[in-house]
């Protein structure tokens, strides 16, 4: 029974992942990505990881996909903007590379002594006597807060940095404040410039010099 569920969810997840990378509209891709996350969560459940199965749905399908859909909504790309001019040769090259990568991985899996060992032959086999608690919230929490507490704290720092970085990147760019007069004079003297005033700063912070800022465009953002 487990094996059927594993094969069915595996085939569905593979088809869903192929649809994610081939659909032109990113909204369709996001919907298939949700299906993919759901089937992977089912595979986690079969592989004796119930906590991860729940977390997969909560974090991936719940949080990360909402983030993606919000960004798709903010961009509101028009159909003609979704056209991609990819050369056929590049697509063939990408297919050849990823296919070669899969064949290489399959060869490595075939050669691995770990895979050939009898304990790995059947993942549906009953677990050992010490194992029934594995994969529960309790087991993962104990491991996370006892032996892995340093990586756990480092991950929290990483998430904090990601939050700060995301806020900084998406903040609206304000005009740079004009330097104070003594600083300006000092710069002029140091350069020995002939012009009494330094050249005005023409470009905005995120815009090439010479390209005018269209007011309507700024209002949209």
């Amino acid at each position: 029974m487990d094996a059927i569920a594993f094969y069915v969810s595996g085939i569905v997840s593979l088809i869903a992942s192929l649809l994610v990378v081939t659909r032109r509209n990113p909204v369709h891709g996001a919907v298939f990505l949700v299906l993919f996350f759901a089937t992977v969560s089912l595979e986690f459940l079969i592989l004796h990881a119930p906590f991860l199965a729940v977390i997969q749905v909560l974090v991936y399908a719940g949080a990360i996909m909402v983030l993606y859909l919000f960004v798709i909504m903010l961009l509101s790309l028009k159909p003609e903007e979704l056209k991609e001019e990819v050369k056929a040769g590049r697509r063939v090259l990408a297919g050849a590379f990823s296919g070669g990568l899969f064949l290489l991985l399959a060869y490595a899996i075939r050669q691995s002594p770990r895979v050939a060992s009898p304990s790995a032959a059947d993942l549906t086999a009953p677990v050992g006597p010490a194992a029934p608690g594995v994969g529960t919230t309790e087991a993962i929490g104990l491991e996370l807060f006892q032996s892995q507490v340093l990586p756990f704290e480092l991950v929290s720092v990483l998430i904090l940095l990601a939050i700060i970085g995301a806020i900084h990147l998406t903040r609206k760019q304000r005009a740079a404040p004009a330097p104070s007069v003594p600083l300006r004079q000092a710069a002029t003297i140091a350069r020995g410039a002939l012009s009494p005033e330094p050249r005005p700063f023409t470009g905005g912070a995120g815009r090439p010099a010479g390209e005018p800022v269209r007011p309507a465009e700024e209002a949209v953002l």
Binding site: D2, V20, I55, I64, F97, A130, E143, L169
Partner: protein, 119 residues
């Protein structure tokens, strides 16, 4: 394979790892062949999920071993997946923020047209 064979069949570590590497390869194909930054980021999520699946399957294979080392290894594999999940969330947040900033600058989500760094 007939239906009866599938009903009786079990799946081993080999099948699980093959599925994980197939998902990873699909993600690599998406990153290499697509131009839309959103789809590229989604393909990266596919790759991370393939790696997660491989980790969980390897941990499950350790569970069948005798003694306490096997269950410990399985727990550690799942803790590692939790870490990967957190990194994936951070990656999605920063990646999408960069996409929004680049969209303001170039008015496109197409990676081929965002070419400011190459001059």
């Amino acid at each position: 394979m007939t239906i009866a064979a599938i009903l009786l069949a079990a799946f081993g570590l080999k099948e699980a790892l093959l599925l994980a590497s197939a998902i990873f390869s699909v993600g690599v194909f998406g990153v290499l062949s697509r131009q839309n930054v959103l789809v590229i980021l989604m393909s990266v999520e596919l790759m991370l999920n393939g790696a997660n699946l491989a980790l969980v399957a390897l941990g499950r294979a350790f569970l069948a071993e005798k003694g306490t080392a096997g269950p410990r290894a399985a727990s550690l594999a799942q803790v590692f997946v939790v870490m990967v999940l957190a990194v994936a969330a951070a990656e999605a947040a920063v990646g999408l923020a960069i996409l929004l900033a680049a969209y303001r600058r170039w008015r496109t989500a197409n990676a081929g047209e965002i070419s400011g760094l190459s001059g």
